[in-house]
Symmetry: C2
Subunit: 338 residues, 2 copies
DNA sequence: GTTAACGGTGCAACCGGTTGTACAACCGCG
DNA sequence: CGCGGTTGTACAACCGGTTGCACCGTTAAC
């Protein structure tokens, strides 16, 4: 059994064990070309012997990096937890960073208290970069990050993009996605469309609607657009409201797959069949889409790939790259609800 | 408008601006009694002037602490995301630490890749302490933390407690909770009890069952105990299995409120009324418990308080305190399902 | 045989803070 | 007037790494 180590070995001990100087030991472990192969072997052996791992604090001070990237979450965790969008994003980020020596950590900043604490650590430069996964409302923290010049990537659109020249942005082409969904409705011959979308103040929602409109025009009248939350319960309720109005419609464009699931339930309860009577198209292509009955035709957002992209941009910015805006393409996934 | 600051001011600049040495500046900002009030004022003014914030890297190296605490999550995020238990826990931790200068960050370590990266940063001593919120299966990371001597708090029981002398542990008294639930059944005069619990390998489940048994004895026969997942779907399915057996029972003890919700749905579908025909008692007292129809009688776990406790213990251990085990009390919440 | 070139290593400075200790200035006291 | 005791400040070392540069011993070229 290995004994608990209370005090970690330092580079000096490794150097002593290998019979070289600290600098040589350092270079040997960092594989510098200036050190002979033989010396490297000896130092590496010594390092392994004493179980040496370079101390993050000393290293961070010397190289000016902590190798920790903060994934900033400004929504309450419970909300985050109920939305599969985020977990896809996060997996993408983690996946990509696992190739590097950087470690992503999730930083919750929903309350004012939390934001202040986060701000403090940003100012102290505890993190090399920040990836904000829910920036759409903006926040005073973004202002702080801008002032500090911390490399920052926004996942998702920010209203009006006031920071475009300072921050990088990654998001999927929502207008294009709306386009695809609407086109599918049109091709199917649907003429009287209803839309059940997410919150009206969300830029993604606005863009998707623009995409719908570009294709459908007056087939999607203003009166038929409902803004609500992202959950199936929200979709269910919204659909009930629409049914109560007793208007005629033959297609429903949904802001998320979960909304679509609720919509389908409500339609079925009202005796309407999907897709025979009404076509339904979702958005996101989450797991739930394939499990719907009937399986949901939807617009796929490449969330995992967005995570990859965000992570890579963060790494580039740490190395000094300029901010970028990166728009990902969407894709129509054909299933049975159309 | 403040201009973006590319290079942060250092203590040396503050000292120069205030006309004192670096050491005096440092002591003044840390409110050392050896510095005159007048000098402190001057230094503080200078610091404010240049917007000085002590650099985390330099400070960490000097004081030997990063002031970052890792909240370790070894389950897949999606699972974590669906269980309200965690978000309560986390809120408790964050709340408590917001009083200190420590920052909690969430560290995902579900895949092997992620665990390796986490391990690396543990070895580098990137974090002052670790709070593991889902330790019950154990993991090789715990072994690493033990060897490194990193202050560690486990939230929840660990099978067999092999690390009791090295790690602190916080959990609620599950046996007591089981006791309370069973006692309520008994007081109500229920004699033929069924239990629908979480996974059998979970120590909490074992303890709760022990609590049930201590009160009910043969009123809860082995054959009536079903192990399943924590979700309402699991509860629903389990109840259907039980109904198919056509045994007589008048009470159901559930491993979680979500299980209870599923159980109630299944009972209603079978034409059984709660609580007239069958009493149901949950566990956790999550939000869902109060929203059930009928409102669920359940055993409250003080999750938020456990978070507070875990955070405080972590801080104490950083200061050198010995590991502690802390068991929190549960409480029966009387509602209408009994 | 001298010298230039070069590969390998160590010294020392540096990153940005904190802290033990020396020292100067001032006080009151005998 | 000289002394010990306070008070306030600065110097320098330290935390644990990285890195510019000087230096050493070879070898090769003239």
């Amino acid at each position: 059994m290995t004994q608990p180590v209370r005090t970690a070995p330092t580079l000096a001990e490794v150097a002593a064990a290998a019979g070289v100087s600290r600098s040589t030991a350092s270079r040997a472990l960092n594989d510098s070309p200036r050190i002979s192969e033989e010396t490297k072997k000896r130092v590496r052996a010594a390092a392994k012997e004493v179980n040496f791992v370079p101390n993050a604090r000393g290293r961070a001070l010397a190289v000016g990096r902590t190798e920790i990237i903060a994934v900033l979450v400004t929504e309450p965790l419970s909300e985050l937890f109920s939305d599969p969008t985020y977990s896809e994003f996060l997996s993408g980020i983690t996946e990509e960073l696992s190739e590097s020596s950087y470690l992503p950590v999730i930083l919750q900043a929903s309350s004012t208290h939390e934001r202040n604490r986060a701000r403090e650590h940003f100012e102290r430069r505890s993190f090399d970069a920040v990836i904000d996964v829910s920036p759409y409302k903006g926040s005073e923290l973004l202002e702080v990050l801008r002032e500090l010049g911390v490399p920052t990537v926004l996942c998702g659109q920010l209203e009006g993009h006031p920071y475009r020249d300072v921050f990088s942005t990654v998001y999927s082409d929502d207008e294009e996605g709306g386009h695809f969904a609407a086109l599918a409705m049109k091709d199917r011959g649907r003429k009287d469309i209803v839309a059940v979308l997410g919150p009206q103040d969300n830029p993604a929602v606005v863009d998707r609607l623009r995409g719908y409109r570009a294709v459908l025009g007056e087939d999607l009248p203003d009166a038929n657009v409902i803004y609500t939350g992202w959950n199936s319960g929200d979709g269910y309720q919204a659909m009930h409201q629409i049914l109560a109005r007793e208007i005629t419609f033959d297609g429903v464009l949904c802001g998320s797959d979960r909304i679509a699931a609720g919509v389908i339930t409500a339609l079925n309860e009202a005796g309407l069949s999907v897709p025979a009577d009404v076509s339904v198209v979702g958005f996101d292509d989450h797991e739930i889409a394939a499990r719907c009955v009937p399986a949901l035709t939807t617009v796929r957002q490449p969330l995992r790939e967005e995570g990859h992209m965000a992570a890579n941009i963060a790494l580039d910015m740490i190395k000094g790259a300029e901010p970028t805006t990166s728009v990902m393409h969407t894709q129509l996934i054909q299933r049975d609800s159309l």
